[in-house]
């Protein structure tokens, strides 16, 4: 047995950066070929990142949402598709951690997830419903101890590569569209028949194909809480915060590239101000705004977690919606600024300043639950909600 010459840095940040290195190496190929970022996901498993959010008592590390958001940002700077796969997995795990603790099956599953580093995908979007995740057409059928479900799932990111899929549906055949449950299905408990190919502008490596999902599993795998509560208390916040952390990573890398471009120009400019430097200052300003927006959202969520009433309040939903709206729009402005700074070197593929992939990936942000839909929800709430106008409250 040989001892390593020096101890490996096992902090979360160091583990994330090692994964990011692998992700960055493959990012362009993953994008060009629209293929699953297998190397990066293998590295996540090797660094045991898939179970970090699970409490220590169930085999995980009890990482907080801010800590996970930081990992999303580190990965987002390397390969947005890999980062988004990680973020979407962690959003599903947050439902387990927040709502699965009372159920023996879900507790055991958390242990298995950590031990085997299982990758979890999500099927909320449905043909005929779109991104209105609080409505389902399909209904789960419960037959004694067994449940069965068929869903026309039009978008399941890494569906073909996941070990587990969590699927929303109506709670029973007579349930109204909003009376939903979510069920955990393991790979040997479902079949996927591909219906739509994911050949898209960006986020190509998420491989978010459409499938007809057919599953059969023990009924104990249905979450013991209504999906309405899961959506409001863990999914809304974790989605908007972790997605935003990925998007921030994309924008931050774009600004880094623009800054490198300006610095190289400055060295050759013989003391003259290089072009693009004022735009760089503007981009840096917007990047700070974006970061502040996400950080304040993380704090609002951490505070609300201590108070269930606050978690299901309108003020909280509006705050989370606003984080998503602002970050999805601001990244496009920032990356576009970076593109103008780098000029043709940014527009071209394969230069150190290339920004095409960043810009294409970033365009998914506004559609990932359509901003128009979110604006619609917020505007309805604003008809009755009274805003808190204080600075610190």
């Amino acid at each position: 047995m040989s001892l390593p010459a020096f101890a490996t840095d096992m902090t979360l940040g160091a583990r994330a950066r090692r994964v990011a290195e692998v992700a960055a190496e493959n990012a362009d190929r993953v994008d060009q070929e629209a293929r699953f970022p297998a190397e990066a996901v293998d590295a996540m498993k090797a660094e045991r990142l898939l179970g970090i959010q699970v409490p220590v008592s169930f085999g995980g590390e009890g990482a907080s949402i801010p800590e996970i958001a930081e990992v999303c940002t580190i990965l987002g700077q390397a390969c947005a598709a890999s980062a988004m796969v990680f973020a979407m997995h962690q959003i599903k795990v947050s439902s387990l951690v927040e709502h699965g603790g009372d159920s023996e099956w879900h507790r055991d599953f958390m242990r298995e997830l950590c031990a085997r580093q299982l990758l979890v995908a999500s099927a909320t979007t449905e043909g005929g419903i779109g991104g209105n995740l609080r409505n389902s057409i399909c209904a789960i059928e419960i037959d004694g101890n067994i449940c069965r479900l068929t869903k026309d799932a039009t978008v399941i990111s890494y569906g073909a590569h996941a070990d587990v899929i969590m699927v929303t549906s109506r709670a029973h055949a007579d349930a109204t569209p909003g009376d939903q449950v979510m069920t955990v299905f393991k790979k040997n408990q479902y079949t996927l028949e591909k219906t739509v190919d994911w050949d898209t502008l960006g986020m190509r490596g998420t491989c978010s194909d459409g499938f007809i999902f057919k599953g059969e599993a023990p009924a104990a795998q249905i979450f013991p809480k209504p999906f309405a509560e899961i959506a409001a208390q863990s999914m809304l916040a974790s989605s908007h915060l972790l997605w935003s952390a990925v998007w921030y990573g994309i924008a931050a890398d774009a600004v880094l590239r623009a800054q490198a471009f300006v610095r190289a120009a400055a060295r050759k400019a013989n003391g003259a101000q290089p072009p693009g430097v004022v735009r760089l200052a503007e981009a840096s300003n917007l990047l700070q705004l974006l970061k502040a927006n996400i950080l304040s959202g993380l704090k609002v969520y951490a505070d609300a977690k201590a108070d269930l009433d606050q978690l299901s309040s309108m003020a909280f939903s509006i705050a989370m919606n606003n984080v998503k709206l602002a970050s999805s729009e601001t990244i496009l402005v920032i990356i576009n600024q970076a593109m103008i700074i780098c000029g043709i070197m940014g527009y071209k593929n394969g230069t150190p300043y290339s920004l095409g992939r960043h810009l294409r990936d970033a365009h998914s942000a506004q559609l990932m639950i359509s901003n128009d839909r979110i604006l619609g929800n917020t505007s309805t709430m604003l008809l009755v909600q009274k805003p808190d106008t204080s600075l610190l409250g």
Binding site: D179, S313, M314, L383, V384, Q385
Partner: protein
């Protein structure tokens, strides 16, 4: 108050079932109350009782059933009397 709430629920709730068939404790969300309709209901109740829901009561729980709404409204009316 129960009757007024039921009347408003029938008018703006958009439920697929008749309001007369709902128990006071029945879960309105499971009965099909959408978030849009729940806001319409809040507005109608504010108008009918001449009250404003404070932010702390604007959550799913306060509007989860007819009796929950009654309690929420009663709480606001009582606070107003005390003031």
């Amino acid at each position: 108050m129960n009757e007024t709430i039921r009347e408003l629920l029938a008018r703006v709730g958009g439920l697929p079932v008749a309001v007369t068939e709902l128990e006071d404790a029945a879960d309105l969300y499971a009965a099909g109350l959408s978030s849009f309709a729940s806001v319409q209901l809040m507005l109608a109740i504010e108008e009918a009782f001449d009250i404003e829901f404070p932010d702390s009561l604007l959550n799913r729980k306060s509007f989860a059933s007819i009796s929950a709404i009654e309690q929420t409204v009663a709480q606001i009316l009582k606070a107003r009397e005390a003031a």
